[in-house]
């Protein structure tokens, strides 16, 4: 077998399989085409396939009941894991913001656990992002193709995440320019900064909601959802590592540098615990959600 190209289904078989309902093809077409590749259909098998297509059109709800449940669980797991990762990214970005001062850099050098926790949280976020791409990119490409062919009204939803990101970045740039060129009162500057942070969460929520709509709306191949679920399990593990690092960072800062911990380096110069503790809580909640979603998704996989 080695060195030989895998057998391919003939034109007749491929053409007849296209007569089946799309939802049925998403679930079974790969298997049937594999069967037809090993055994090209004669007239009798082609007629049997045609009857099967008619049966599938008449009984699609019954035939896909089990598969539909599984796919719905995989979709939910993928979406929750994505949402948890996005929430974690914002949380880690918050940590980067609050410990950007030199005093924190020096504390991280003096206390390796502190520096290690900070670096681990950031790297776990990056690794999780790479895994999100591994699981999500094939879904995005296939979804885009599906929407282009069968549901063009869904196409604007693909533009929501980049548009939301652009609005947030554009607002940040605008506020930066205004802050530099115009002497804004302190309260206005702080309000604008808080608004910009709130906008980040809104943009993230709108983006995840758009992805959720797409996941529900488009017919996506089960094998891609299975790949996303496996990647989602690894994302959940990375999110958990990041959340544990956030907790470690907060505890170590409190233990090793109490003056920094209780200082006024929180958001808009509030006491740091008012920012650090909510960040830790959000990160932990994201990890719990991601782990639960990944567990449910993996349990829904065939053979699990």
């Amino acid at each position: 077998m080695s060195g030989q190209a895998p057998p391919r289904p003939g034109r007749l078989g491929t053409a007849v399989v296209k007569l089946y309902p799309r939802a049925w093809r998403d679930r079974y077409a790969d298997e049937v085409l594999d069967l037809l590749a090993h055994r090209p259909p004669g007239p009798r098998a082609a007629a049997d396939l045609l009857l099967g297509a008619l049966d599938a059109h008449l009984n699609i709800t019954e035939l896909l009941r089990g598969a539909a449940t599984m796919l719905a669980q995989l979709r939910r797991a993928a979406l929750t894991t994505l949402g948890a990762w996005v929430a974690l990214c914002l949380t880690v970005a918050g940590l980067i913001k609050v410990n950007e001062d030199l005093a924190y850099r020096q504390a991280e050098i003096a206390h390796p656990l502190l520096g290690g926790a900070d670096a681990t949280a950031q790297w776990a976020c990056v690794v999780a992002g790479a895994l999100v791409l591994v699981g999500g990119l094939p879904l995005a490409v296939t979804g885009l193709r599906e929407a282009w062919r069968h549901d063009r009204a869904a196409l604007p939803l693909f533009a929501v995440p980049p548009a939301a990101g652009a609005v947030w970045l554009g607002t940040g740039l605008l506020l930066g320019l205004l802050g530099r060129d115009a002497a804004l009162p302190q309260w206005l500057g702080r309000a604008a900064f808080c608004g910009w942070i709130a906008l980040a969460w809104v943009a993230a929520a709108v983006s995840v909601a758009a992805v959720g709509r797409l996941l529900r709306r488009l017919e996506l191949a089960a094998r891609l959802l299975r790949l996303a679920t496996v990647a989602g399990g690894l994302v959940a593990a990375a999110v958990t590592v990041a959340a544990l690092s956030l907790i470690t960072y907060a505890v170590e800062l409190h233990t090793a540098e109490p003056a920094l911990f209780s200082g006024g380096d929180g958001i808009i110069a509030t006491p740091l615990p008012f920012t650090l503790i909510p960040l830790t809580v959000i990160g932990t909640a994201a990890a719990v959600l991601a782990d639960r979603a990944a567990w449910r998704g993996i349990r829904a996989l065939p053979g699990a």
């Binding site: 049937v32 069967l35 037809l36 035939l63 089990g66």
Partner: protein
Amino acid sequence: MAKNDADDVGDLGRFSDPSLLIMSSLADGPRHGYAITKDIEEFAGVSLGPGTLYGALARLEVRGLIEPLASAERRQPYRLTARGAAVLAAQLNALQSVAATGLARLATA
């Protein structure tokens, strides 16, 4: 109980016989579609068309009598579930009883 188990396959209409053959094929281990077709040809001399095979596989899966196994390949192996094994046993016992009765009556006729 056995009657209900047997009804799980009996209510499949034209897919009843193919379902029984598929479950019998899966009784000694997981197989994918092509392997099931070949196995049935060998032990029963019946050639299942691809439309019939997947119509029956989908119905058996929905009823929880078989389940797909994780697979990285295009071909998807299936295995008999515990419930599927019980249903198959009930169905085969019922057939055996019919066969034994019929044969006995022929012998005394």
